[in-house]
Symmetry: C2
């Protein structure tokens, strides 16, 4: 018989139907009158299917004791209306098959609360918990919603390189990639010879696909990346990962206004899709992780984003009377506390801050005519602060080269990037969104390490 | 005025409409009677829009000379029926704006044929050519078709780690990832101390997400990866990249039969979607790259795949009378020439070969009862040979551990992988597809370096 997924059974199976389900046992309760209740989960949804196996079912006597938490079984039987009020239906087993046991003494995921720290140590089993099942399904829905958003608007998905010999921000601590024999390199005193390395020169892991995305935006139209990026920062915070996924759209003929409009529409659409398509999982986060989760997300989907210039933002912060750990003045970078004050306390809704001082922003952002600010924009939302950073790009060759030199970069090393301004340059804009930050926002998980299947952080690349 | 994309203009704009288009000039021809024809492309489709700019248009006299190949302009004007037979409509300019020039003496992409080798050296400009525009659009459509295929079947998209301390195949040359100061390491004679490295131990770039995907398949159901993978092989062939994207679905409760059925459906659906949704680009490959392209792809979408065992395949090869460079015997790995003979000459259609000798396959493939073969399968298609490799996975703990030891692996290093067999093990299967090989198949491009935006190969990580 074809396997029915539990999500489908719970939604559509009717009393009287014969079905087969397969999955992992969450709990088993034995009644004194010769039957057992099994809660079975197969990952297709949060809810378990309740299964009744009575002693007349073949192998009940010999096998039921091994149908413990974590064991894998398949069950064939008849769907009945459930007398319990927690579920519409239940399955009355006619036969069952035990694929694999899970020794109750050693299986780490017994029915009790486990700390997220502990679950990180068994990241290979944590998808079997309610929380990580829900995170994984929400992550999947968000990823697909992102593709739908861009594809429906004619954007082209491009894969920018992971191994690179450029550095987008001109800064950022990068992982080196090499095939040199490091042990031998250490043992023999010598000068390093990168011509012997795989790529013939020093190579590292990308921190952003933006510069390469600009190549496609200025030839084929709106495009976006969705791929892994890396930071070799020794940051042990709840908001940093050494490896994370980024979405970076890049659009020709978009100015900063167009860019802000797209970013707003993007955030609202993706969150709206997840709320609509993962109601059960989102309800779980709202009940178990943070009871303001759905309200916080509805605040984002239901309100137009406030737009204020950096200069206005500084005025608000200075006249707020609020004591900040980092004092703020025009010209200084906003810290998380400032961003969160603006979006959480002052406006109490999403805010886009634009036109930042040029001295605190990278070379590729377009200079405004005031010569003091650049066409940058950050999207701030209650709960996490900055979720998107973007800008209109500097499309004027001379100004771009000046800005590179100002920042200590060697324009020749970016010959292909400056070429885009030499040959048929056009105004263009783009932004970046850290995928795990978005998942953190949507799930209310405190630690970003729980928002990616296998987190990479200092001293940790297990699994 | 809102910009109309050229694809939309060519398909839907009606004579009499006023529109604005923006893009890059492919060619300009000046007539003697005071007007110019401009072919404009914006990447939204292969075709250009023909624009007529006459000398009454403001700035014509001063600017038209700079409207050269590669220059970027926007044009506002009225749509007219075209008297030419190559296009339905043309645009009569009322005004135009020159964003950026492209100096005719230095712009490398003048109107002429360029070799693909040369275009690889200017990979930042090659998306402006017909060929690379078409490849990029087909790549985008294939990527989205892959997501649609899996999402519509309830598969979960997961992102497996890029930086890893495991090695899926137990072999394969891997890139090392480090933050150690290599120059200092070379200069001072010492023992290497990986505890000082970012992850506290040697780390490398993943060669496959399969093992981690199995974690999700055996907890949450059908899933798939779609991400970059790496091989540090010194292969300078037209079929190898050091960095490439892989799709790796993994399915619980699937045996080898189910796995083959899914792989067949996957290949046929994705190729069928691209044929249907990119007709203009596919026609281009069929006319300009290889005139058998569409016929070759229709052969895949329209025929059920032949299924034969490895043993049958060897018999066919041995009795073929064909002289192979590598002689073939039961027990030896098939070479590309054998695979291509089977699919291109013998069957002349796609073939799935299954049940390979255990000695030539990795530890994770399920052993058959004959003790000689494993539940492996390779999908072979005319034109490229092997396009998919997969297997039913060994779900039995003891046999898996034996197989690891047989292959010289230390099971303890795979503790989390073997744990999946200890706790609620289930039969499961999966396969892998190299995305660029698929693109190569669909576009008929000879060199795989032309099937990815920025190829990484030995001595080359430019852009």
């Amino acid at each position: 018989m074809i396997r029915t997924k539990i999500k489908s059974a719970l939604h559509s199976s009717q009393p009287g139907e014969n079905i087969k389900v397969s999955g992992w046992v969450r709990t088993r309760r034995d009644s004194k009158s010769g039957f057992s209740f099994v809660e079975l989960n197969d990952g297709s949804c949060m809810a378990n299917l309740q299964i009744v196996i009575d002693q007349s079912v073949p192998d009940y006597d010999t096998l039921i004791k091994d149908v413990t938490t974590g064991a894998s079984i398949s069950v064939t039987g008849k769907v009945n209306e459930s007398p319990g009020k927690n579920q519409r239906i239940e399955l009355h087993a006619e036969s069952f098959y035990l694929y694999g046991t899970a020794d109750a003494d050693s299986y780490p995921l017994q029915k009790k609360r486990h700390s997220f720290e502990f679950l990180r140590e068994i990241a290979h089993l944590r998808p079997r918990t309610n929380t990580f099942g829900a995170i994984t399904r929400v992550r999947n829905e968000a990823a697909y919603a992102i593709h739908r958003f861009f594809q429906s608007r004619g954007f082209i998905y491009i894969q920018t390189p992971i191994i690179t010999t450029s550095d987008c921000e001109g800064a950022g601590e990068m992982f080196q990639v090499t095939t040199l024999n490091l042990e031998r390199l250490a043992q023999v005193q010598t000068e390093i010879d990168f011509s012997q390395d795989f790529f013939g020169k020093p190579a590292s892991l990308t921190v952003s696909g933006q510069l390469e995305a600009e190549i496609f935006a200025t030839s084929l139209g709106e495009c976006y990346t969705f791929g892994p990026t890396f930071r070799a920062e020794n940051s042990n915070t709840s908001r940093h990962l050494a490896e994370f996924w980024m979405i970076e759209p890049e659009m020709p003929f978009y100015d900063l206004e167009d860019n802000m409009a797209l970013a707003e529409s993007f955030v609202r659409t993706v969150i709206g899709d997840v709320l609509q398509n993962c109601p059960e999982d989102m309800e779980f986060f709202n009940q178990r992780i943070d009871q303001t989760t759905i309200e916080k997300l509805r605040n984002i989907t239901d309100n137009e984003f406030i737009r204020i210039s950096y200069t206005e933002a500084i005025e608000i912060l200075k006249s707020s009377g609020k004591q900040f750990d980092f004092p703020i003045e025009w010209g200084s970078d906003m810290q998380s506390e400032h961003e969160r004050f603006l979006t959480e306390e002052h406006f109490k809704q999403p805010v886009i801050v634009y036109n930042y001082p040029r001295t605190i922003k990278p070379f590729y952002m377009r200079c405004n005519d005031d010569n003091k600010t650049v066409c940058a924009m950050d999207v701030l939302v209650p709960g996490v602060g900055e979720i998107i950073g973007g800008s209109q790009r500097e499309e004027r060759y001379d100004i771009l080269v000046d800005r590179m030199q100002e920042g200590g970069l060697v324009p020749d090393e970016y010959w292909w990037y400056t070429d885009l301004r030499k040959y048929g340059t056009v105004p263009h804009s783009g932004f970046g969104l850290g995928f795990e930050r978005l998942i953190q926002l949507m799930t209310s998980m405190t630690n970003i390490r729980d928002c990616i299947p296998f987190p990479r952080t200092p001293k940790n690349a297990e699994f």
